[in-house]
């Protein structure tokens, strides 16, 4: 499999700054210049540029058990009259305080509506009270159809590279369907459900979240990644992916997806071995997660998935995997999904249908919180985390950081410990944990904490 990320040292872009441009003129409606014709940059610019904003974001992150405020800047685009701003998860998805600088340089408070790290997208909203109070106006841009993009098509990128707000660059579409291996943003899984639009317009840290614009003045992508140390290699999340995410974030504040528990591999060069035709290859199931719906249903490595709910699936190339993952993830949670499996060669059954029940797709990472009296930070323990670390399914609280020279560290607590009992009481949920800790904080007596550390169990003595 092509590992573009490892080969090219991909970086995720996010940074900061500001400027202005006079905006004049407009072009014909629905104008899309023919490939090769001189693009009407002015037309496209006028439609989108006034809607592009800079985002100054303060996040509270816990590093080694210590709360730290991390500031960063990125870009976004206002996409409706309510003042919703489309940007990246890694720009604003964990933001506690967001200041939006409009194209007219006015600053307005923003609030996070919702975020989706799986596609690295987020939605922020302009504070309507402040808009009213400051009597500020804003415009918004349309989200276009990324499916219609062509290789070589002229595009614009607008954003805040290195803090230089309201910067516009131009280029062409270098690839409409770039595959990249799944990766993560501080442990948050990302890049699972889409391929990328590759462009050669200059984008730099700070451009993240800003729009990729076609000559019709529509947002066709959200500029997200670049290759460290390279020129002219930028990557945008397609707008058609964003449309689905926007709808869910507006409706529910989050995106809900299904999980089955299989990892796919493309079939290129394996067609003969697995006796599939080049036109109908199916997709190879390379791995089945332990204790997943797929494993419980009897799906095995080397099964060839040929149809999902009766609809044929094919992936000869890695570029075709994201769509299959997206199809499965788009299934309703706790619903039945039918896998048609081909078990090749010596197996007795050639084709069989397996009915599986989807589960909620969870991140290995859950919301972090501070346990001030201990000097540690914790998270809920998710099944995804347990699977990833091949820990048998269990309940407990995950330690994510420990400050130095405070009670927890002195007791010997470490990051990645799983707390199972505090003062003899099982702690299976954050609520239980908080309740026990609150009681102990008042009592101020020595207590024991039982943890699981990798395979081992340990008792630690906490002395307030």
């Amino acid at each position: 499999m092509v590992n573009v990320r490892r080969a090219l040292g991909l970086g995720i872009f996010a940074v900061s700054l500001t400027t202005t441009l006079a905006m004049t003129g407009c072009g014909p409606k629905n104008y899309v210049p023919a490939l090769g014709a001189e693009p009407n940059v002015r037309y496209a610019r006028d439609k989108v540029f006034p809607a592009v904003v800079s985002l100054d974001v303060a996040e509270e992150r816990f590093i080694n058990g210590q709360a730290r405020t991390i500031r960063g800047t990125g870009s976004g685009t206002i996409i409706d009259a309510e003042g919703h701003i489309l940007t990246n998860f890694h720009v604003a998805g964990r933001g506690k305080k967001i200041v939006v600088t409009l194209a007219n340089k006015e600053t307005i408070k923003g609030t996070l509506v919702g975020a989706d790290h799986w596609t690295d997208l987020a939605l922020v909203k302009l504070d309507p009270e402040e808009i009213k109070r400051k009597n500020v106006t804003f415009t918004y841009a349309a989200v276009g159809d990324s499916e219609k993009l062509e290789l070589g098509q002229p595009i614009l990128a607008i954003g805040t590279p290195r803090g230089l707000a309201r910067t516009m660059t131009s280029g062409i579409v270098s690839n409409t369907d770039r595959y990249m291996e799944v990766s993560s943003i501080d442990g948050y899984e990302t890049g699972w459900f889409n391929n990328w639009i590759q462009i050669d317009a200059a984008i730099n840290p700070g451009n993240s979240g800003g729009p990729l614009v076609n000559m019709a003045g529509e947002i066709v992508g959200i500029n997200t990644r670049g290759v460290t140390g390279s020129n002219s290699l930028g990557f945008s999340v397609p707008s058609n992916v964003a449309k689905l995410v926007i709808a869910d974030l507006l409706a529910k504040g989050k995106v809900t997806r299904s999980y089955i528990g299989v990892q796919f591999q493309p079939m290129q060069d394996l067609e003969d071995f697995y006796e599939v035709t080049a036109n109908q290859t199916g997709v190879l199931i390379a791995s089945v997660d332990p204790e997943s719906p797929a494993s419980r249903g009897g799906v095995q490595p080397e099964d060839v998935l040929v149809a999902v709910n009766g609809k044929p699936v094919n992936a000869r190339f890695p570029e075709e995997l994201a769509a299959i993952r997206h199809m499965i993830a788009g299934q309703a949670v706790d619903s039945e999904i039918k896998f048609t499996i081909q078990r090749p060669r010596k197996s007795r059954e050639i084709k069989l249908d397996i009915a599986l029940k989807t589960e909620l797709l969870e991140s290995a990472i859950a919301q972090e919180e501070n346990v001030a009296s201990w000097g540690a930070t914790i998270r809920n323990l998710t099944r995804a985390y347990l699977r990833e670390h091949r820990i048998p399914i269990m309940k407990g609280i995950l330690v994510t950081g420990v400050r130095t020279n405070v009670m927890a560290e002195i007791a010997g607590l470490r990051s990645d410990d799983i707390i199972v009992r505090v003062d003899g009481k099982p702690v299976e949920t954050l609520e239980q944990f908080r309740a026990v800790v609150a009681t102990l904080d008042k009592a101020k007596t020595t207590f024991a904490v039982d943890v699981r550390r990798d395979r081992n169990e340990k008792t630690l003595v906490f002395k307030p």
Binding site: M1, V2, Q263, Q265, Q268, D269, L270, D272, F273, L284, A286, S287, V288, P301, E302, P344, R345, K346, R390, A411, G412, T446, A448, D450, R453, D454, R455, N456, E457, K458, T459, V461, K463
Partner: protein
């Protein structure tokens, strides 16, 4: 720059002067037939040159070639001739446990008496404390077995003399190192710290200057934050003294293992409790559980189906005594663990050991019949399949344990992928550490099945491709195809 050059030159000169003072020419040894050990001087070492010459007759140089399908390298170390059967003691660090036995080729011994002509040798095995390796020369060695009749344990302040051989580039000359005992450490092994023996090699015999008694053997160490390499292990020891230090293993740590010279290379005859994650108890634990003795160790986990689980041990049990006695008097948790290891190091499979444990505040005795320590990867037969460019071996316990797989998981482990072979190329190359479970739709449960399968696939010429199902180090499976078409 000028100052740096001056410093460098001064250093080189100092070394050259020291070398010229200490270096001794080798003298011809007695006739190259097996001879009994010549007793060393009784009483103070007054004639150092003669003493050094006598001792150097017991020292040999050992050269080993490590070779596999991706290349070779040479390792060299000093050996000590132990008896007139040509048994030689070398440091375990010369051939760490991670090196597959099958990669060890061409062991040669060079002795002063034979004018350092090489004599082939073979491995007998590793000492029970894992610190040394026993070799046996294929022909008689022209040397004098080291006199082991007068030994003692070094005390603080004892003046020391170490004798060693220089390497090939220095003409295998004898050299000596002087020092004195600065400290004694009681860790997983007893260790003696001296000031620097910097000119002597590892595995040099060390003598008491005042009595002529053999006190121990040098081991590698350097600096004030020492990393001691003992056999397969590295231990960190922090000293506050700024001087460089030397380290030796006292005779008390060596005597016992010489009574059991192995006869089969690297066969694991260690007893094993089957428990993991051992940690020493902290003071707070002693207070919480009202433990009156200073030391104990807590069991982190009990390995399924092994001796400890069968005997009823649980994770978080605190082991306080072994066969009725405390195994440590240290209050330092890390040292408790080392002392525990030491107390159990010599146990054999089948031995019964009574552990005095504390569980949930209550004491009890648990009798464990030790199982055998599982085979380690380097002990397994490594076989090269040239048709596919892979060296494979059978799966051992550590493979399934580290990958968190069921203990009964079968397959073969890829130990080496030949550079440039079909297995190393392509979109989904094979890699070292992968556990192969299936090849060309046939299950592979053992090395033998794998080799038979490969032979069968290539019986009538090369197949166009081979498709492997593997379990990777992180436990996830993958499908790897190698293209064998010309």
């Amino acid at each position: 720059m000028k100052m740096m050059k001056q410093i460098l030159t001064a250093t080189l000169l100092a070394t050259a002067v020291t070398m010229s003072v200490r270096a001794q020419e080798t003298q011809p040894a007695p006739a190259p037939t097996a001879v009994a050990a010549v007793p060393v001087a009784v009483g103070p070492i007054t004639n150092q040159p003669e003493f050094a010459r006598n001792i150097s007759a017991s020292l040999v140089l050992v050269e080993v070639t490590l070779r596999n399908e991706n290349g070779s390298r040479e390792e060299a170390g000093q050996g000590i001739l132990l008896n007139d059967q040509g048994v030689i003691l070398v440091s375990g660090g010369l051939l760490p446990e991670i090196v597959p036995l099958d990669f060890i080729k061409d062991i040669k011994v060079r002795a002063p008496g034979g004018k350092f002509q090489s004599v082939p040798a073979k491995i007998l095995g590793r000492s029970h404390n894992r610190l040394f390796i026993f070799l046996k020369a294929d022909k008689p060695i022209a040397g004098t077995p080291l006199d082991l009749s007068r030994t003692a344990n070094p005390d603080l302040g004892t003046k020391l003399l170490a004798i060693g051989l220089m390497g090939k580039d220095a003409g295998y000359g004898t050299y000596v190192g002087e020092g004195s005992v600065k400290a004694r450490l009681n860790m997983q092994h007893e260790l003696v710290i001296s000031n620097s023996f910097s000119l002597t090699r590892s595995n040099s015999p060390v003598f008491d200057v005042n009595t002529g008694a053999l006190l121990g053997l040098t081991i590698p160490s350097q600096g004030e934050n020492m990393q001691l390499r003992l056999g397969n292990q590295t231990q960190n020891v922090e000293l506050s003294d700024g001087d460089q230090t030397g380290t030796l293993l006292p005779w008390s740590e060596i005597a016992g293992m010489l009574k059991e010279i192995p006869t089969k290379p690297f066969e694991s005859k260690r007893g094993w409790l089957g428990i993991d994650g051992i940690t020493g108890i902290e003071e707070d634990m002693r207070t919480l559980y009202k433990i009156t003795q200073p030391a104990g160790v807590t069991i982190g986990s009990v390995v399924p189906d092994m001796a400890g689980e069968k005997a009823g041990l649980h994770s978080k049990d605190i082991i306080l005594t072994i066969n009725g006695k405390p195994f440590s008097d240290s209050i330092v948790p890390a040292l408790m663990v080392q002392h525990y290891s030491r107390a159990t190091m010599q146990a054999k499979p089948g031995d019964k050991v009574v552990l005095g444990i504390l569980r949930d505040g209550a004491k009890q005795d648990v009798t464990v019949t030790l199982g055998a320590f599982p085979k380690i990867p380097s002990e397994m037969k490594h076989v090269y399949s040239p048709q596919v460019g892979l060296v494979t071996r059978d799966v051992v316990f550590a493979d399934t344990y580290t990958r968190k797989l069921p203990a009964e998981q079968k397959g073969v482990i890829i130990a080496l992928v030949k550079n440039g072979s079909a297995a190393s190329l392509g979109q989904t190359p094979l890699a070292v550490g992968m556990l192969v479970t299936k090849v060309n739709d046939q299950e592979v449960n053992s090395q033998k099945e794998f080799l038979d399968l490969v032979a069968k696939e290539f019986k009538d010429g090369s197949p166009r491709e081979m498709v492997f199902v593997v379990i990777q180090r992180d436990g996830a499976t993958a499908v790897c195809r190698i293209d064998l078409s010309k």
